[in-house]
Symmetry: C2
Amino acid sequence: MLDRVSGTLRQHGYRITPQRKAVLETIARAGGYLAPSEVYERVRRKHPSIGLATVYRTLDVLKSLGVICEILAAGDVRTYTLGAPDHHHHLICSGCGRVTDFITRGLEELQQRLELESGFAIEGHVLEFIGRCPDCRSGSMG
Amino acid sequence: MLDRVSGTLRQHGYRITPQRKAVLETIARAGGYLAPSEVYERVRRKHPSIGLATVYRTLDVLKSLGVICEILAAGDVRTYTLGAPDHHHHLICSGCGRVTDFITRGLEELQQRLELESGFAIEGHVLEFIGRCPDCRSGSMG
DNA sequence: CTTACTGCAAAGGATTTGCAGTTAA
DNA sequence: TTAACTGCAAATCCTTTGCAGTAAG
C-alpha cells in the first residue's frame, strides 16, 4: 500500500517524507475515521516533533490524490480514512461518532433521474445515515 | 407560517422577538439556503443593530425546533432553509454553490437493511448529490 | 544543488460565550 | 416584575499562512 502511494506521490511531483509516511500509516492502521487532531496525536507518539500544520498539509495532499477520503460528518468534524470517496457510504453514530461504511447500489438510477430532471451534470454524492450504534444503544453513554 | 412558528416558540418557552421574526422572515423569503453570515447581512438591511451572535443563537433555536433545516454542504459551510430535515435531499452545484432540493423514496428500504445488518438505530440521513447546474455548465464560471 | 517540505508562531475565519443592559410576557 | 433575550467584545476552535531552516531527489 505504501509502495503504491509512494508511486502516486512521486508521479505528481511530491516527495516522500517521514512525516507523510507516518500520517498515511496512522490512517491506514486506524481502520476507522480520524479527525486531523486525532491523526496529529497518534503520529506524535512515534514522531513527536511533527507539527499540526504538517498534518493538515499532508491530509490535503493525500486527499487531492484520492489516497484518503474525507467525510463531511455532522458536527462540523472532518475525518479521514483510507480510500477514494464515492465507493462507499457512511453510517455515523450520534453517540460516539464512530463511522461505519456500507456499500449500496441503486443510487445510479436516482442519479440518472436527477440529471434528466435537473439538468445538472452530477459529479458525486454523499449518503450518510445517522443513528446509534449497538454499543451506544446498550451502554450508558447517553 | 409566522403564526405557526410563533406558537412553536411559545410552546417551548421561547419569546417572540423582532430579531427572531426578522431572521425567520429572511430565511423564508430567501427560498434557498443561506449561510449565517448571509442571514446576518440580509437581516441588517431592515434591522441594522442586530448582532451576529443573535443570528447564530436564533438559528440554533429554530433548528432545534425543526423550523429550519441545516445542510452540511461541502466546503464546511452551514446553510439553512425553511423546513424540517429528512423530508428532502440536496443537489448542490459545485460551481455556484446553489442548492436544489429533491424528494426521493426507497431510502426506507435501505435504512431497514442497514438497521438489520449493523444493529444501529437509525435516526436520520443525509443524501446529497454534487454536480454542475445548467447555468454553470453553459456559463463561463469555470 | 534545488526546491519542496517542515516546524513554529502568527494570522484568519467561523462560532461561542460572558456580561450588563433591555424587553417580552 | 423577572427571566429570557440582545448587542458587544472577547474568547475559542479549527485551519491556513509566512518564514527561515532542513532534507528529498
